[in-house]
């Protein structure tokens, strides 16, 4: 074992805790991969992590790099299993959290229920003191009521305190003073103030962000501490890195201070993986699609860059206003369409798929665990796309009678037979996913034909080719290890932090100094934070974006800035803004341009995995051919397809559709006319052109 580099990613999901381990031989760069799965063990999640390491035969003492992703934060939020929070805010604004924004998305429904604030009114308290939007102190902070407030909080069982004052994005000194005093008066309490999380304006969003962060803090701190202790006890000598919603990893200590940044760590690692894969195979423009059991998620990567935004909400949909969390989250669209999504017919004879899911229990009808409703997976089985004799890698005997009954039920309501109903389910599911992919591409002015579709998750490869055909995408890539691709993405992540700072400046001669200073100040903060964790300043890389708009507008367009902001390149920055704007919105204006703030990405590599490429061999896939069977391709009819064993595919092999690749964790559906080739890393490249 000596000399090998061992990298491990563990991912705690709602049902299972996953492990992927790469052992890399430094002499030849070859890696061997181990994967394992064990039950998630709430509330002591760290036990599941240690279990899965043991199950995979990984000795923590030998691990060089350990990355960890978790749904603990999002689960604590959606299941309302966080701590009791007390809020301290500006005088006159204790009700901000409850007033929220007053919107009613479900507007014809007169029984709409406004989302309940996470802190009841009696635990929302005020302090005198006021800043202006320019950060000037208008009224001094008065901390004299604080001791009484904290006494009340103690007697009410408060476990965590959130602090948010008006205009703290512009001047956080009142928040800092209050934070320090709270720590002094009540050192045991978890406490967080809004400026530590975000420096952007909008008081409801920032207050709610601080509140939700405080809400999950006791749970997350305990979780991270026990994870760390558990790993140390088993001999792990490094420090674990925690996956973040911004596609980077961060140190455990840093995450423990502001755990809310983990909220979308699961999807983020997959999308980062897609960006890294794009770099590896020379495809910088990627549409990434992750299809799991209950949802499909997609994101667009332009020129190797994932798009990070701070306009993130939980539980927001057509029927609820949801709750904002102003942290950097990868720009993604998620829809309730996965392998377990239920097909149903409404009162007017119209077919729908999802968002209800059969979950893991009872699961699709074909699981034979009592599920009576047809799911996307049942339809895929029925049409011969999934092998009924090799269901879930052969682990489950497909209950085809149950699947048939379920699909026929749908068909009866539609007045069609089972075949037609199953085709309908696939087409509706595909259409839902196409619309989601359009939201991240066409909707933002990007033509999907200029992108490669990277499809992963258990269901990605089953639907990707049909979606690509619909969108005019020319090439699909199904990565090696697609079912555990998120874990791979985690191992490819950098230590990364995204800084968003609101700073309103007219883009005109003389403004370059202010803009450059804003970047320089923020970069100094970043270097300091990285430095505190032992990363030397010269290893920290920066990418700068400005957020611009026409004067009088509100919403901004992010533009990449190359190098220092100087008087000479202001004109180019402005021209880049006009171009970006016109691409997205079809017009440009002859109006003054403003910068509203900056987005700075600071990152440092922390020894990520280097992939080695194997030479390509014979094109003939005959050694992997298992046989043939009839497969129903919905709109393209029934074809006799070649069936391949995915575990026997080798670099250089070429497969022609109609064909199916069966892998223990996924099924690749190649349509007639598709041509697939394996690259030296084991990724399958599907050429859609013919």
């Amino acid at each position: 074992m000596a000399g090998k580099t061992i990298r491990v990613a563990t991912d705690v999901g709602g049902t299972f805790t996953d492990l992927v381990c790469f052992e890399t031989d430094p002499d030849n760069g070859r890696s061997t991969v181990v994967t394992a799965k064990s039950d998630t063990t709430p509330p002591d999640f760290e036990r599941g992590v240690l279990n899965v390491l043991e199950k995979g035969g990984v000795d923590p003492a030998t691990v060089d790099f350990l990355a960890h992703g978790t749904t603990v934060v999002i689960n604590a939020l959606t299941e309302r299993k966080g701590g009791t929070v007390g809020l301290i805010t500006t005088q006159g604004f204790r009700d901000t959290l409850e007033i929220a924004r007053g919107n009613r998305p479900d507007f014809f429904n007169l029984h709409y229920q406004k989302p309940k604030p996470f802190v009841p009114r009696y635990l929302r308290r005020e302090l005198p003191g006021r800043m202006s939007y320019r950060g000037e102190e208008m009224a001094p902070l008065d901390l004299s009521p604080l001791a009484d407030i904290l006494d009340d909080f103690r007697s009410e069982g408060v476990e965590a305190i959130a602090i948010c004052f008006l205009h703290s994005y512009a001047n956080p000194s009142h928040e800092q003073a209050t934070l320090a005093r709270v720590r002094e008066l009540w050192p045991e309490a978890s406490v967080v103030s809004s400026h530590q999380i975000t420096r952007e304006w909008r008081e409801y969003e920032r207050t709610n962000t601080a509140v939700l962060s405080a809400y999950v803090q006791p749970t997350a701190e305990r979780y991270l501490r026990r994870l760390n202790d558990g790993l140390k006890a088993k001999g792990f000598t490094g420090s674990p890195y925690i996956m973040q919603s911004n596609c980077g990893v961060d140190s455990l200590e840093s995450v423990a201070r502001i755990p809310i940044t983990m909220v979308e760590s699961g999807p983020a690692s997959g999308f980062w993986g897609a960006a890294e894969l794009g770099r590896l195979i020379g495809e910088p423009n990627v549409l990434a699609l992750d299809i799991g059991g209950t949802t499909a998620k997609c994101s667009l990567i332009e020129n190797g860059q994932v798009r990070i935004m701070t306009d993130y909400w939980i539980e927001r949909d057509r029927t609820s206003a949801g709750y904002p969390i102003m942290v950097p989250v990868v720009d993604l669209v998620e829809i309730g369409n996965g392998g377990g999504s239920i097909a149903w017919v409404d009162d007017f004879g119209k077919l729908h798929v999802g968002p209800q899911s059969a979950g893991a229990l009872p699961g699709p009808a074909a699981y034979g665990k009592g599920g009576t409703e047809a799911t996307t997976t049942d339809a895929n089985l029925w049409l011969g796309r999934i092998n009924r004799d090799y269901f879930c890698g052969g682990e489950i005997d497909a209950d085809m009678a149950a699947a048939e009954t379920a699909i026929k039920n749908v068909g009866e309501k539609l007045g069609v037979d089972a075949d037609e109903a199953a085709r309908g389910i696939i087409r509706i599911a595909n259409n839902n996913m196409v619309n989601a992919l359009k939201l991240v591409s066409l909707n933002r002015g990007f033509d999907p034909r200029d992108f490669v579709l990277v499809a992963f998750g258990g269901g990605g490869a089953m639907h990707a080719m049909a979606l690509a055909a619909e969108l005019g995408v020319k090439k699909v890539v199904v990565p090696a290890g697609a079912p555990v691709f998120s874990a791979w993405g985690m191992m490819m992540s950098d230590l990364r932090r995204d800084y968003f700072v609101t700073r309103l400046v007219d883009l005109q001669k003389g403004s370059e100094a202010t803009i450059e200073q804003t970047f320089a100040d923020t970069e100094a903060v970043a270097r300091q934070q990285f430095g505190d964790e032992g990363v030397e300043p010269e290893r920290v890389k920066f990418v700068r974006f400005g957020k611009f708009r026409y004067q009088n507008q509100e919403h901004t367009t992010e533009v990449l800035l190359d190098g220092a902001v100087t008087a000479e390149n202001l004109a180019k920055i402005e021209a880049d803004f006009h171009d970006t704007y016109e691409r997205e919105y079809t017009y440009r204006l002859d109006a003054p341009v403003e910068m509203v703030g900056i987005h700075l990405i600071a990152s440092a590599e922390i020894g990520k995995l280097t992939m080695s490429e194997e030479p390509r061999g014979e094109a003939d896939p005959a050694p992997a051919l298992k046989g043939k069977r009839a497969v129903d391709y919905a709109l393209e009819g029934i074809h006799e397809a070649d069936i391949y064993d995915g575990t026997k595919l080798k670099p250089g092999m070429v497969l022609n559709g109609p064909a199916i690749v069966e892998d223990p964790g996924m099924t690749v559906v190649l349509h007639p006319g598709n041509r697939a080739e394996l690259d030296g890393y084991g990724n399958i490249h599907i050429d859609m052109a013919n």
Partner: protein, 553 residues
């Protein structure tokens, strides 16, 4: 591909895609607009009409704008009826209720024909409230107007873009008539970008599935919409229901609603003549109010389209407040539309208590504040609807601090943005603790918000209703509390009002907006004891008053 496909799956896919296109149009407009009333408050709507102007699909936004776009497009189609009048790339605009504009002159409807297979297959359109379209007062809205000519520039269903190219003189006329020309120009372009996004998406759909299938499916959705409405209508109690109600200004409004198996008749003929101040609405405006209440009663969850509204039969009298004749002023039409909406709700509530809760604050509470930004020296204009309390139902307390029934996916303006953009201070924004709305279930709370002015010679215009007669309680629940403004000048005595136009403001004057609590439901003595304890703990009511209202603990 010219054959019509009757495949139900294709039908579903096209319908989903229309919805997605309308949403996409909404997003484009929100992101590009320059007035906070559009990008923040989202006082706008988007929709897709068929070739005849029937509403096929609507985007997010506000319910009161859902039924506007079809009426505007129909007027454009009727006006441009000669060959060559409408060509690919054209864009039209109207803002005049006497030319299909439905609402008031601030709301500009922008519409674009979608061509495929050599003919018009659909229209994409949107509507949004523009900050200033000229007229006698800043912000264009004033209670002083006696004719529509004083309320701004009238665009009587005209072409603004011809074959993709802006008609420059027309654009210049629009711009020069505004006190905020750059903002108006920016907002009109935002609207144009939005209809173009929709146009592109619909052409792709028609190309993919065939024009005939596309057209056929649009008809089919509307038939589905009608079917859904009729099915729900059959579950409503039948009969004729009648209600007369005194308004804050002393007028008596009356509604008679007759619900039959296949028709929902709203009779508004027995109402006062149109007024010579801007508290009138077009007939189209009250039709929108009827459509809103009808949709909420029948099928609130599925998207609205022209078919959904077919069972409505509206009776009005020309020359009345609900069917104003040119040149009656209509600036505050929305309060009148809301009054109709609210009396229809109140008229039916006792007969369908499971569907209809107690009354809500039921006023847009439109607040218009303008002046010079002390830090930038530029003119600012705030146009804000306000949040207020909703009524209690038989199963729960009403929501606090929501926009009124007229609005929907509408957002209030954050204090931080208000202070930066408009150069005034927001000293507080909190729940209204006035009594009102007590009951077994309590009405939701309105808000109290203080704007403090930072420069001299600004203006204030407001037009609130339900100020004299607050939200109504049901089943023995107490009425809510009134909507009003308390003006607290730096020097002088505070004054309270609900309607005022162009009041001059000075440094450190405070404009306190107070919106009503919703109506309560049921006898307060029956309120759950734990709920009363929570009310006291949360400071919503004092212990002493709680004992008086709810009885001993």
């Amino acid at each position: 591909m010219s054959a019509i496909s009757n495949d139900p799956i294709t039908l579903e896919i096209i319908q989903n895609s229309l919805q997605a296109a309308a949403d996409e149009m909404f997003a484009a407009m929100k992101k590009t607009a320059m007035s906070s009333i559009i990008y923040e408050v989202l006082d706008m709507g988007t929709g897709i009409m068929d070739a005849k102007g029937e509403l096929a699909s609507s985007g997010a936004g506000i319910p009161a704008f859902i039924g506007v776009l079809d009426k505007a497009v129909k007027v454009i189609i009727a006006k441009f009826d000669q060959p060559g009048d409408i060509e690919p790339g054209d864009v039209f605009a109207t803002n005049d209720p006497y030319y299909g504009g439905v609402t008031h002159l601030n709301d500009i409807v922008v519409a674009m024909p979608v061509f495929a297979g050599g003919r018009i297959i659909a229209w994409t359109a949107n509507i949004a409230h523009n900050s200033d379209v000229g007229g006698m007062a800043p912000g264009s809205l004033t209670g002083e107007a006696t004719e529509i000519f004083q309320e701004g520039l009238r665009l009587p269903a005209i072409k603004i873009i011809s074959k993709g190219e802006p008609i420059k003189p027309v654009m210049e006329i629009i711009k020069v008539n505004s006190r905020m020309p750059d903002v108006l120009e920016g907002d009109v372009w935002a609207a144009i970008a939005s209809v173009r996004v929709g146009d592109r998406r619909l052409r792709e759909l028609a190309e993919k599935y065939g024009v005939a299938t596309f057209e056929n499916d649009m008809v089919a959705f509307m038939d589905y919409g009608e079917e859904a409405s009729l099915k729900a209508l059959s579950g409503l109690p039948k009969g004729t229901f009648d209600l007369s109600e005194e308004q804050d200004d002393g007028r008596i409004f009356n509604v008679k609603i007759t619900i039959a198996d296949d028709e929902f008749t709203v009779d508004l003929r027995d109402n006062p003549d149109q007024a010579d101040n801007p508290v009138n609405t077009s007939r189209d405006g009250v039709m929108v109010a009827a459509q809103m209440i009808f949709k909420s009663l029948t099928d609130p969850y599925s998207p609205a389209n022209g078919g959904s509204f077919r069972p409505i039969n509206l009776l009005t009298r020309e020359g009345s407040v609900f069917h104003a004749k040119e040149p009656a002023p209509i600036g505050f039409y929305y309060e009148i539309e809301l009054r109709v909406y609210d009396i229809m709700w109140r008229c039916l509530a006792p007969h369908m208590p499971d569907r209809l809760a107690a009354g809500h604050f039921a006023s847009v509470c439109g607040t218009f504040i303008g002046g010079i930004h002390p830090d930038t020296g530029r003119q600012y204009t705030i146009i804000e609807p306000q949040l207020g309390g909703w009524g209690a139902s038989r199963v729960r307390d009403g929501n606090s601090a929501m926009f009124c029934g007229f609005h929907g996916e509408t957002f209030n303006c954050p204090a931080e943005i208000n202070e930066a953009r408009n150069g005034l201070y927001v000293d507080r924004m909190e729940l209204n603790m006035e009594p009102g709305g007590e009951g077994k279930h309590t009405g939701g709370r309105g808000i109290v918000m203080d704007y403090r002015i930072r420069t001299d010679n600004g203006f204030l215009t407001v037009g609130y209703t339900r100020s004299k007669f607050p939200a109504w309680g049901v089943d023995g629940g107490a009425d809510g509390s009134p909507n009003y403004v308390e003006f607290r000048p730096k020097d002088g005595e505070p004054e309270t009002f609900a309607f005022i136009s162009g009041k001059v403001t000075h440094v450190d004057d405070v404009i306190r907006v107070v919106t009503g609590n919703g109506g309560g439901q049921g006898d307060p003595k029956e309120r759950d004891r734990d709920a009363v304890r929570d009310d006291i703990k949360n400071g919503l009511i004092t212990k002493e008053r709680a004992e008086k209202v709810y009885g001993p603990a």
